[in-house]
């Protein structure tokens, strides 16, 4: 693999609360290569969105990065002063949020929000920025962009708004786009259109994508590699095909088993017993051990590290060590 565009090393994010410090992310490491689409899956609360927020430097206080490093194109960015980090946001890392209905400021026209964003990062005149904005809207598939640009967000449908959000996130041609569940709030019929638009534009510009979702179908169609998070820790990471067909971590296997397919004839989907532990009650050893049917003594004492099971494919499971 060439030098990674984004490199996250042992990232730890903590939220101090009255009842002690909650660890939302515990030593997560991964790379994203230039032009690569990395899917990030996990249950709600597994730490997917926190990872995105940590990379872009927007963790809500009192949460904070308590350890680890984030590198963008080889340069460390997690300890930059606020102004330097602000210059990276939007310019080098774009972000698409989950709900297009609430992501746009209702009181300003789309034109104003786009022009403002473009002129923050690119040295363009008002007029040039507007022309650039119309081009962007056209590219994300908004019909009659030159006329629609002066509309307010509430004049657009949900799918159209998410296209506007994508245009805004890509306004300054960032090298990395973090898409945090970009289709969850949308109608099923427009979900694939939005994913296609996002994927196409990023591909033509060579931008990398970190696609956060809990829809394995989207990952399978879109991502090059997939990272599975569980209770703030990396459970498994590898090429999409390998992870789907040869999942090594029992949790990933359970996750794959819970996807309905047309070939299956079962009445019930496979279900992992129990629920993900709350952040204040993560068991010692492997976080998954109480729910794991294969767990043994070592799992209850020592937390597993990522172990290579195939080239570029690693799982944080002691079983993987036994097999290799």
């Amino acid at each position: 693999m060439a030098e990674p565009l984004l490199s996250v090393r042992n990232l730890v994010v903590e939220f101090p609360t009255r009842r002690g410090v909650l660890r939302a992310l515990d030593g997560v490491s991964f790379d994203i290569a230039p032009g690569e689409v990395l899917g990030m899956v996990g249950e709600s609360g597994a730490g997917k969105s926190i990872t995105g927020a940590a990379i872009i430097g927007l963790i809500e206080p009192p949460g904070r990065i308590a350890g680890g490093e984030v590198y963008l194109a080889g340069k460390r960015i997690d300890n930059l002063p606020p102004d330097a980090m602000r210059a990276i946001r939007g310019k080098r890392i774009g972000m698409v949020f989950q709900d297009p209905l609430t992501s746009l400021n209702p009181l300003y026209t789309v034109a104003r929000q786009l022009v403002e964003t473009i002129r923050t990062h690119l040295d363009l005149s008002e007029k040039e920025a507007r022309a650039h904005a119309i081009g962007l809207l056209d590219r994300v598939g908004i019909p009659a962009a030159a006329r629609r640009i002066d509309d307010y967000p509430h004049h657009f449908s949900g799918g159209m708004r998410q296209r506007v959000v994508i245009a805004l996130a890509l306004a300054a041609e960032p090298e990395l786009v973090i898409a945090d569940e970009p289709t969850t709030a949308l109608d099923v019929s427009v979900q694939s259109q939005i994913i296609d638009v996002l994927k196409e534009i990023c591909a033509e510009r060579g931008a990398s994508v970190m696609l956060i979702t809990h829809d394995m179908g989207v990952i399978a169609e879109t991502a090059d590699r997939v990272a599975v998070l569980y209770a703030g820790r990396m459970a498994e990471i590898g090429p999409v095909r390998d992870v789907i067909l040869n999942a090594s971590h029992p949790y990933t296997r359970g996750l794959m088993g819970s996807i309905p397919t047309l070939q299956q004839d079962n009445d019930r989907l496979v279900q992992i017993p129990g629920t993900m532990p709350r952040l204040n009650a993560i068991p010692t050893g492997c976080a998954f051990n109480p729910r794991c049917e294969h767990s043994f003594e070592k799992c209850r004492v020592h937390a597993p590290h990522l172990i290579d099971v195939a080239p570029h494919h690693a799982a944080a499971c002691w079983l993987a060590e036994e097999e290799t």
């Binding site: 972000m95 949020f97 400021n105 009181l107 307010y152 306004a171 300054a172």
Partner: protein
């Protein structure tokens, strides 16, 4: 837009008519107006003749119609106490009240919004906490007590500012008597304006702070930050404008309240305004002045509410329904 304005004006007219009815009932049914006009020696026959001459025996609807007709021309009759036309009395004193209300309202709005934004953006720290604690005093202390405390501190102990009256005034062409143009007039304004505006200021401040904190948590603010917009743009361009709709509502209502409830402040500071006139009229059961005051305050409230509704329109594009409907 035009249809909206017309609809609002019609609604306002209905409100005014109801208030006029109350004011009229005050006239007609609080005591016997004839008693207040004639001496004890007047015979019953003379009283009845006067009653007929003044139209007090006419049917209710005709009397009410006459009252509304006169009121529309600014005629509320003669004050029992001062033997002058009521409208003249009120117009003489209105500039004093309006100047006081304007200064305290503006100060309350500007200081309230600034302090609200400041405490919302800086939630931790000594100064924001001190402002929040002090605002509790502003919300909870009654107006008259604040006025008396201010007089005690700044007029009696420190002797920096006058304790009562308007100071020297200048009559502008058109009959407007202003205190803005003399230094004693401006000095006299300070204490009453603080007294009148303190509650409104703390109210606006706490409202702006709460709304701002709410808005700062929204997705579009997070998205604005994620696009790398400078903090100044995010806070004052995106967040503040979104907090303004509820703030405008409350400020508008409070401006009406400032004018209407200037009564207490005017009494404490012997301020020669409409509120003081009203209090003196209540003492003398001067019904025409009371009725006119009621109608005037209602009119001010109605006008302010109309302006507030139009301001919503200017601030929030989602309310411009007709335009978007026409577009699709």
């Amino acid at each position: 837009m035009l249809a909206f304005i017309i609809r609002r004006v019609v609604q306002s007219a209905i409100v005014m008519l109801v208030v006029a009815l109350v004011a009229f009932a005050l006239f007609r049914y609080v005591g016997d107006p004839i008693n207040s006009m004639v001496g004890q020696e007047t015979s019953l026959a003379d009283r009845e003749a006067l009653r007929t001459r003044l139209g007090l025996n006419d049917p209710f609807v005709i009397q009410f119609g006459r009252f509304v007709g006169n009121a529309l021309q600014g005629n509320f009759g003669i004050s029992y106490r001062l033997q002058q036309p009521v409208m003249e009395l009120i117009l003489q004193r209105l500039p004093a009240t309006l100047e006081l209300a304007l200064v305290s309202g503006l100060a309350a709005f500007i200081l309230g919004v600034s302090a609200g934004v400041y405490t919302a953006l800086n939630r931790r720290g000594v100064i924001p906490s001190a402002i929040m604690a002090a605002s509790l005093i502003g919300v909870s202390l009654p107006t008259f007590l604040i006025g008396i405390l201010l007089i005690w501190l700044f007029a009696v102990e420190l002797q920096w500012l006058p304790s009562f009256g308007r100071g020297d005034t200048v009559t502008l062409p058109g009959g407007w008597v202003t205190g803005f143009l003399t230094s004693s007039g401006r000095q006299s304004l300070i204490l009453p304006a603080i007294t009148l505006g303190l509650f409104q200021m703390t109210l606006i401040m706490r409202l702006v702070r709460a709304e701002m904190l709410e808005v700062l948590r929204t997705d579009y603010i997070k998205f604005a930050r994620a696009r790398g917009l400078p903090n100044r743009t995010v806070h004052f361009g995106h967040a503040l404008k979104n907090t303004l709709v509820p703030v405008i509502t409350i400020t508008g209502l409070q401006l009406g309240a400032i004018i209407a409830f200037a009564i207490i402040t005017e009494t404490v500071f012997q301020w020669p305004g409409v509120g003081a006139l009203f209090i003196n009229s209540v003492r003398a059961v001067d019904v025409p002045v009371m009725a006119a005051y009621l109608v005037l305050i209602a009119l001010i409230f109605v006008i302010i509410n109309l302006i507030v509704d139009l301001l919503y329109y200017a601030v929030d594009p989602r309310l411009r329904v007709e335009r978007s409907a026409a577009r699709h």
